[in-house]
């Protein structure tokens, strides 16, 4: 009986966080239903409309914020500008009208329409968003705006993304345009840091250290990246002496994992003085973007959590245990709550503490191995990887409400699923999975739906999602 009650409460807990996560995704309870008929282009603009229409549709659909009404339900008369609307006279239709879209079978709340034209060797988008429950076109208009882009596919994509961003902003959602995902790829033969757009486009190599370079973290202001790499052991004693002479770091550190900080604006390496230690690894930036959490063996013995300035100065030890402690992440809202992974109770689990190391409590219940915590932008949830219910190594993605420790499982055994990190919109997660054979990077909504694969070349892992640089 007791067990039954316990099970019931676990079930209710899971149901509650499910509702909560979906609440985050559908901030307003019910998603607005939107109709987005294909736009057409005047003259030369028409050749770019396939790109335009698929971009606009996908940007809105992938946001997870809108109910997209299938195009097959749409009326044949599609307005292209406000002057196309004709009020029905005595119940007889005179042309396109809002009720074409608000009544069944479309049953939309909103209609996005407009057209493009090629003018002055540019693509010009005239885009409108109408609230089709309104009784006349002027009160129905929620957005009416002109967008300019180059007269090519890139320009068509740009104006579609800008229009989609305005629509999402109107509904209180955050657009992911301009955000970048930094990740680790071995496609060159070495693990290096790479970056890409949130849809997987524009993949670029960021580092060329030709050793093992991994574990990137990006500052909240989007200006800096920290990661962990192995400074190469010199090939000869003479080479070593030369390297020691110009390297400010303790020579004992060469060949061992050490912290690197680079500017994302210039790409250049910034000064970071590593402690003399066999292991120094970047863990997180504090929300002020001016301090780092690291894990290090600087104190001797087990890897422990420390805080340092951006240049490695003012080392401050946070944890004091006889167990491995890694992956400390600071709450982006408070900056004073820290979650981290510790082996102090046996197999690694996720714990929280104050940033001064006090008030440590375990968040995961001790089952399996729980690793890779990441805070949601609102500082209320963590996403993490857990082997709960599976063999060691078979991680799935979970989300937990840190206040009451209710959790929900988002992936269910399709390969190893690791390193979930929240998007700046608080709605998407990026993670790595071996579901397709190799390790690749995927995104999904924070309720586990809408999975999209972003990478295909080599093995790709350790994604982090950065805000656009301000």
């Amino acid at each position: 009986m007791k067990r039954l009650i316990l099970l019931a409460s676990i079930f209710l807990g899971a149901a509650a966080i499910h509702a909560q996560i979906n609440g985050v995704i559908n901030k307003r309870g019910e998603k607005p239903a939107i109709a987005v008929p294909d736009f057409r282009g005047a003259a030369d603009a028409q050749s770019f409309m396939a790109v335009f229409n698929s971009t606009l549709w996908n940007e809105l659909d992938n946001s997870g914020q809108l109910k997209m009404i299938a195009k097959t339900f749409y009326p044949t008369r599609v307005p292209q500008q406000p002057s196309d609307f004709r009020a029905p006279v005595g119940g007889t239709s005179q042309g396109p009208w809002m009720t074409d879209w608000s009544s069944p079978p479309v049953s939309a709340n909103y209609l996005a329409f407009g057209y493009t034209a090629a003018q002055n060797n540019q693509i010009v988008l005239y885009g409108w968003l109408y609230d089709v429950a309104q009784s006349n076109p002027s009160s129905a208009q929620a957005i009416g705006k002109v967008y300019l882009g180059s007269l090519d596919e890139a320009g068509a994509r740009k104006v579609a993304q800008e229009f989609a961003a305005d629509i999402l902003k109107y509904f209180g959602a955050t657009s992911l345009i301009g955000t970048r995902i930094y990740f680790v790829s071995d496609r060159t033969g070495h693990k290096e840091i790479w970056s890409m757009n949130y849809d997987g486009s524009d993949q670029k190599q960021f580092t060329s250290y030709r050793t093992i370079t991994s574990f990137p973290v990006v500052s909240a202001d989007g200006t800096k990246i920290a990661f962990t790499s192995y400074p190469l052991l010199p090939s000869s004693r003479a080479a070593a002496e030369k390297l020691y002479a110009k390297n400010a770091e303790p020579r004992e550190n060469l060949g061992t994992p050490q912290i690197y900080v680079h500017s994302l604006e210039t790409g250049r390496k910034l000064v970071y003085y590593n402690q003399q230690a066999s292991l120094n690894a970047a863990s997180d930036f504090l929300p002020d973007s001016r301090h780092l959490l690291i894990y290090s063996t600087a104190g001797g013995g087990y890897s422990q959590i420390y805080e340092t300035d951006l240049d490695g100065g003012n080392l401050r030890r946070i944890t004091h245990s006889s167990a491995l402690e890694v992956e400390a992440k600071a709450n982006p809202k408070t900056g004073t709550d820290v979650v981290f992974v510790s082996g102090r109770g046996g197999l690694p689990q996720i714990y929280r503490m104050n940033i001064d190391g006090t008030d440590v409590s375990r968040l995961t219940n001790g089952e399996g191995e729980a690793v890779n915590p990441s805070w949601s932008p609102d500082g209320q949830h963590i996403a993490f990887a857990w082997t709960r219910g599976f063999e060691p190594g078979n991680y799935n993605i979970f989300v937990m409400d840190v206040a009451n420790r209710d959790f929900v499982q988002l992936t269910h055994g399709a390969g190893r699923n690791e390193n979930p990190v929240w998007a700046p919109d608080g709605v998407h997660l990026v993670f790595s999975s071996t579901r397709g054979g190799r390790t690749e990077i995927y995104t999904m909504l924070a309720n586990g739906t809408g999975v999209q694969q972003l990478t295909t070349q080599g093995n790709n892992e350790k994604p982090v999602w950065s805000k656009p640089t301000q």
Binding site: R40, V124, D131, G255, A281, T297, V326, E369
Partner: protein, 271 residues
């Protein structure tokens, strides 16, 4: 310009057109004196859509490496590759056609770049690796030696033994104790013969833990093995520890015998 008040129905005016559009619009007004915006063209004629032909898979070179990538003249390096979706695969520098995965030993006399080309119905892919041949001549063989004498490096590589660990543990097991005791004897011998030689104690983990946690666990294993060697009289200043976490596995099969081979401390020559 736009409201952000959710569903509230507020009139939001048309954005002031940009100068370009304004100028264009004006020019159109001047020319045609009719409409403010150019009318869109009639909808394109409906054409029957034919399903797109299925695209053949693009060849992908999953990996192409040379290990080691730097050799001395006379030594060899192993090229290893894996390709999917290709029908024709070949490697330059006289190697010629190859299978979709394999390995090949090469001993170039000078630094050489090998290019792996893969082609198939879906396209082509290629990747290159360079085997750097260091120009320093090999040291002369020891003169006074009667039989073949092994270098410190060879001694370590041939006789050094790995110490194995339990999952998520860095305790020295009894079998690891035996291995490290033999290693301590070997190291004392090498260090007494070769005063400049140093050794790296590498710590490795199996693939199942997280990479972050394994970085710390590998460090712990290397340190535990080093501490044991030092207790047996090996000078600490000749040993350096490096954790490779799970980044440099011995084998990649997902079974206990492979995982055990990867949960180890390994001795390699240092500088």
């Amino acid at each position: 310009m736009m409201t952000e008040s959710g569903r509230s129905h507020r009139f939001v005016g048309m954005k002031k057109p940009s100068a370009v559009v304004l100028a264009l619009t004006l020019s159109i007004v001047v020319v045609s004196c009719k409409k403010k915006v150019p009318p869109p063209p009639p909808p394109p004629p409906v054409t029957s859509s034919t399903p797109p032909a299925s695209t053949p898979q693009r060849p992908v070179i999953n990996s192409f490496t040379a290990e080691p990538s730097t050799i001395e003249r006379g030594q060899s390096s192993t090229l290893t590759w894996s390709i999917t979706g290709a029908t024709d695969m070949s490697i330059t520098q006289g190697i010629g056609p190859v299978q979709s995965s394999g390995r090949r030993q090469v001993s170039p006399a000078n630094s050489t770049t090998y290019t792996l080309n893969a082609s198939g119905p879906g396209g082509t892919d290629s990747r290159s690796v360079t085997v750097t041949v260091s120009s320093t001549p090999p040291p002369p063989p020891p003169a006074e030696s009667t039989g073949p004498r092994l270098s410190s490096q060879e001694l370590l590589q041939q006789q050094g033994q790995d110490a194995y660990f339990d999952y998520d543990k860095s305790d020295i097991r009894s079998d690891a104790r035996d291995a490290l005791t033999r290693d301590a004897g070997l190291l004392r011998q090498i260090f007494s013969q070769d005063p400049n030689f140093t050794v790296v104690v590498e710590g490795h983990c199996d693939e199942r833990g997280s990479a972050e946690y394994n970085l710390a666990l590998g460090d712990r294993r290397a340190t535990a093995a080093k501490d044991f060697l030092v207790q047996l009289g090996v000078p600490a200043d000749r040993l350096k520890t490096i954790s490779y976490g799970k980044e440099r596995p011995q084998c990649t099969e997902a079974n206990e015998s492979c995982w055990q081979r990867n949960r180890r401390a390994h001795l390699s020559p240092g500088q």
